[in-house]
Subunit: 284 residues, 2 copies
């Protein structure tokens, strides 16, 4: 019996070793493999769950909404890697929500606990990669590689079209639920700056100041900032426009790109892209 028992124990132990990689070990590997020095100040940290948790599978997503967590858990993935916050603020601070016993926080935290989930954010360093992982994924999703500037990968020279046609094609390609555009519909455009997410009005306005940029395509921005700026540029006949894709579809393909990369780095457990659903609809 002895040799049989021993070989059984050894096999079980080997199986345990291959499946029992922890969340912390996966994140350590990302730190090592991402290709840029790890920052001391970063939002790329654990947001929920115990880093020592053995990982059954990795769900990569744009925003760790409750719906994403539910779908990840149903698919047997208990480590969620998210580009955007989990708890409704950039720094994921939950102290005030906890003090008020916020029922949404309570429900989300309970779900994470009950399903032994771990949530970790992958934002700053995925953007810091060369090329920026989000830009790379979005460029591929749009099929715009051939229009991309070699020296400034966020700039594109498209075949001339109208602002209206450009907006329509983006809406279709990225399946956007509700999109907003500022500028003259019939304006001829070809020179584009693609600035996904919420990069801030300074970055967006600086891009729009350039002679070689006519349209900034962004995720979102406060309406008294770049929105008013482009509305004013339009009134001043300065041939500028703004397309607001909303945040999730403006970066989502960049996390699909991240999933492909992570599959080359983590092979012990399945790695799957769980797309974040867009929250918005529009009334008739």
């Amino acid at each position: 019996m002895r040799p049989i028992l021993l070989s059984f124990v050894l096999a079980a132990s080997a199986a345990a070793q291959t499946t029992q990689i922890t969340a912390q070990q996966i994140i350590d590997r990302i730190h090592k493999e991402v290709g840029v020095p790890w920052r001391t100040q970063t939002v790329d940290t654990f947001k929920a769950g115990d880093p020592r948790t053995p990982v059954t599978g990795v769900a990569v997503t744009m925003m760790a909404t409750f719906d994403v967590l539910q779908r990840a858990a149903a698919a047997g993935k208990n480590l969620v890697i998210t580009h955007e916050p989990t708890f409704y603020s950039h720094l994921d601070g939950i102290a005030d929500l906890e003090k008020r016993n916020d029922p949404v926080l309570v429900a989300k935290e309970a779900f994470i606990r009950e399903h032994h989930m771990v949530v970790w954010r992958f934002h700053d360093h995925w953007h810091m990669r060369q090329p920026d992982g989000i830009q790379l994924g979005m460029t591929k999703a749009l099929g715009w590689e051939k229009y991309q500037s070699a020296s400034e990968p966020h700039l594109f020279t498209l075949p001339e079209t109208t602002l209206s046609e450009l907006a329509e094609s983006l809406k279709k390609k990225l399946s956007i639920s509700v999109m907003r555009v500022v500028g003259d519909r019939s304006m001829k455009v070809s020179k584009i700056a693609l600035i996904p997410g919420a990069a801030g009005s300074e970055t967006q306005i600086k891009a729009l100041e350039r002679g070689d940029v006519e349209v900034a395509i962004i995720g979102e921005v406060p309406e008294w900032e770049t929105v008013e700026y482009v509305d004013d540029a339009t009134a001043a006949h300065q041939h500028k426009a703004l397309i607001m894709l909303t945040h999730i579809p403006s970066e989502q393909a960049g996390m699909e790109e991240c999933t492909q990369w992570l599959k080359t780095v983590v092979k012990e457990v399945p790695v799957e892209f769980v797309p974040t659903k867009q929250p918005f609809w529009e009334p008739k």
Copy 2:
């Protein structure tokens, strides 16, 4: 000839006195009449032009866009009183734009200078009035006075409807160009918190935590804040929804209200409401 000349001079002087009220004098009167103590820390300050400028007429508006300035000037109004910023940030800081010789800033400032215009912001103190001047105007515009809570004027109990019908009626009443809703379309709703503008996610989430609030109607908020919160509340079946009117139509009627009030305070020159146009359109 002497008496005639004298009476001509007196008449001219009297005319000059009545028409030559300065921007500063009008703002001083607002300080005195607004009914709340003037704050030392406030964004309610001059944003452009010389406060000593004689005022030909007052244009009250939601946001001093270039288009609003053009229409105000065309209507002979050179003092613009605006609820929202003129130069693309909450504090209207223009140092960086100036350094870069930003062409939109240059055009807008030139227009203001050439038309002897003065821009002053009226934000904090119009909100601080009892009742809040923006809430008052919006409540009237919606015809919701009869549904309003006596003790908490931002809360309303409407006849029961669906979220979808509520959103449609708001879109129609406020002529909103592009609106976004988060939540179940068919959800029955009656308990509303009206929180115009960009009051911040803490205020919005606190309202949504209440048992007597089902829907928050807001202007705007970053999408990883209250938007994700309500998306999560929906996934957790917590009977909450969010209607984002966009910023301008969420407060515009409050500045129409302000115009009516200002007419009772400033009688030397015409006071007119110049509605700010919504910047957004949506592709097909």
